[in-house]
Amino acid sequence: MAFVAPKETYSGKVYQVNAGTGANALSFGGENVLPFNSFEGTVPNKPLIAYEIQDIPPADWPENVQKPYSSVSGDPVTWAKFCQDTLKAKAIALRLIGTHPDRENRSPEDAAKTVKDVLSAINVPLIILGSNNAEKDAPVLIAAAEASKDKNCIIGKAQEANYKTIAAAAMANNHKLIAMSELDINLSKQLNILITQMGFDKERLITDPMCSALGYGLEYTYSVMERIRLAALTQNDLTMQPPMLADVGMYVWKIKETQAPESEVPLWGNAEERGIAWEATTATALLMSGAELLIMRHPKAVEAVGKVIEELGG
């Protein structure tokens, strides 16, 4: 019996989303096949990796991922420029973690200033993230969205508790919007519907089904992503077609495997290489399940995942 390649043609596709302005603007998404299945459809863009920086020094990051930034992370502008100019970042994700009430409780005005300063120092696309405090994120992200008006940034994350204000701010200032729900395909769909019912263009959305680290629930994120992507492609479900975000670094660099020194767990091997591998493996697995936008921390992990993306596309 001769082999006939069982190729699939899907009725749906993923929206293509672009971010940034000018020559360094970038697009991701846009494919009409499962991840990297370019043998049966079109994959117009490669996944995009953004380097994560934050508004305050990363004292809470494990030492091995603080180290590469030790001379620049005291100031978000220097840090951003280092990522863009030295590490050749294609995009930067600025997390306004200092606005969290339990951290420095910085004001929305402070946040707006940081955003402005960073934007004036870089020309690659910027992702602007709150501190993941639903209440505080609303005023912070409104101020941030206004401060970056018309720069075509990606603003997030809008959640069920605060989506109205954040979506309105993203819309008024011409930004893209990350909609996050907690590891449930139905919640994710519902949030996308609620946001689009406000008049927000569904083709300007990015879905964050919530990330998990390798060994810490990765399989849940993996399967929710796969199911979202299948709904987008096979059922042509318009509410499930935004590209997906994997916010990898934040989830990876807080678990034991990225911190415990080899002296404590000799069977786990070198801690620095282990941490880098953990971030890169988590990211690679989520690329397989459909992530198009990744936020990562360690330069070596970013580089390694970039290399895999090249190999998967070329």
Partner: protein
């Protein structure tokens, strides 16, 4: 594609003779469709029907056991394309390549890395499963000598013997007689000779080609020569081709019941850069590889790949669980705080991780709630005041700590009164609702 009950019924004698132990042929057909009965129960079925039904009822990806004894690994038997549909069955085998150009001491070193690679994670023992000996020298004597070292130093580890030279293959495979090695190299040039070697030694035959067409033709040819157990290599080396070919192979097997590609897939991930290699292996683990060959097995790499393999092959319908017991985090004293949570592995990981982040030495009582998270377990009546009280009493913790204070998750604050009633002499403190509140909570208490 498996046949439906009605399709099977059409092939049966339709005599309702009951000799199979079922009241009617239709009832028997339904049982066959659900794989709860086997066709040999029917004494009157025709040879034609046997052939059709036999082929249709065989698993779409052939089950093969690689190696023998307690280190043998099962491969194949997969039934789905996506893990949310049904559990992926047999976790992919990780093998390390050993080249026969290495010195005896280097070979021995690699073997020792394999033998000491075992780790325990969430109650599962994980390890590098196999050794792939490669005939890099092109020399029969060197290949045989290296095979002998492996056979004597790692007698129980399943082995892949990789050579396209039939004389070398034959010499090496005889060293592993009865141990179910894989002879890897049948290609379009040597298929017949390799098939004969595999058949004579009851070895599994690795089949390699440069396209899926060529591969299908080869496996059919080899099958006709009497070899049933094969692992297949589509020639894919680049990540793009690995994902493409593995996907087409799995689809052909499962959706089209295409037997010529219904075999476990072997991928070669070797790269100069070890991290890059790990990520290529990650692609294979996620996308349908049954064997992945690596060039190095550093401990950090093993941990990451074992964990990914475990994650991908977890049963999506059965929550991962950790053992019920009282875990010590840091080095707790008799005065250190005691918290309780459920045994859903994610809950345990997140809660224990946050406690460790707090740097406050503590005890965490993990109660068996059949792998449910706190709120779900509470709603299901598995995380109740009386069960918590019984668990604490029976745990023997009263001999370990001087205090009598139990911190419960904020989500089950409602239980605090009734636990105090049932757990005499104990004070119940309501902790934070979310684990990420634990560092502030614990540090606040310690201050």
């Amino acid at each position: 594609m498996a046949l439906s009950g009605v399709e099977i019924f059409k092939l049966l004698p339709k005599t309702n003779c009951k000799k199979c132990g079922h009241p009617t042929c239709l009832a028997f057909a339904m049982k066959l469709a659900q794989r709860q009965a086997t066709l040999d129960l029917c004494p009157d079925v025709s040879e034609d029907a046997k052939k059709i039904l036999g082929e249709a009822s065989a698993p779409p990806v052939r089950p093969i056991t690689f190696g023998t004894g307690d280190k043998a690994v099962k491969m194949g038997e997969e039934t789905v394309l996506f893990r949310h549909d049904k559990k992926f069955v047999n976790p992919c085998v990780l093998a390390i390549e050993i080249k026969d150009t290495l010195s005896e001491s280097d070979i021995t070193k690699k073997i020792e890395e394999v033998l000491s690679s075992e780790l325990d994670r969430v109650g599962q023992k994980l390890r590098v499963d196999a050794i792939a000996l490669t005939n890099a020298s092109g020399d029969k004597g060197k290949f045989e000598a290296a095979a002998k070292i492996i056979s004597s130093k790692a007698p129980n580890v399943p082995v892949i013997l990789s050579t396209t030279d039939t004389a070398s293959a034959e010499a090496a495979v005889k060293i592993f007689t009865g141990k179910r090695p894989i002879v890897f190299g049948a290609n379009s040039g040597n298929a017949e000779a390799m098939a004969n070697i595999a058949k004579a030694e009851k070895a599994i035959l690795g089949v390699t080609a440069n396209s899926l067409d060529e591969l299908s033709a080869l496996t059919e040819k080899i099958k006709s020569l009497g070899v049933e157990d094969m692992v297949i290599d589509s020639g894919a080396k680049k990540a793009k081709d690995i994902i493409g070919n593995n996907t087409l192979i799995r689809r052909a097997a499962i959706k089209k019941n295409f037997k010529a590609l219904g075999y476990p897939v072997i991928n070669f991930a070797q790269r100069d850069d070890s991290l890059h290699e790990a990520l290529i292996a990650a692609v294979g683990i996620a996308k349908y590889a049954s064997i992945i060959v690596l060039s190095s097995i550093e401990k950090w790499k093993n941990l990451a790949l074992f964990t990914l393999r475990q994650n991908i092959y977890t049963d999506p319908q059965v929550p991962m669980q950790v053992e019920q017991k009282i875990y010590k985090l840091g080095e707790p004293t008799q005065e250190s705080p005691l918290m309780i949570t459920t045994n859903f592995s994610l809950t345990y990981f997140i809660v224990s991780g946050e406690i460790e982040n707090s740097k406050v030495p503590s005890r965490l009582a993990v109660m068996d709630c059949e792998g449910l998270s706190v709120l779900t377990a509470w709603a299901a009546g598995k995380f109740t005041a009386s069960k918590i009280a019984a668990f604490i009493k029976e745990s023997g913790i009263e001999n370990e700590v001087k205090h009598r204070e139990l911190i419960i998750p904020g989500y089950v604050a409602i239980l605090s009164g009734s636990i105090e009633e049932k757990l005499e002499g104990w004070k119940i403190t309501v902790g934070p609702r979310e684990a990420n509140g634990l560092p502030a909570f614990l540090k606040g208490r310690a201050a």
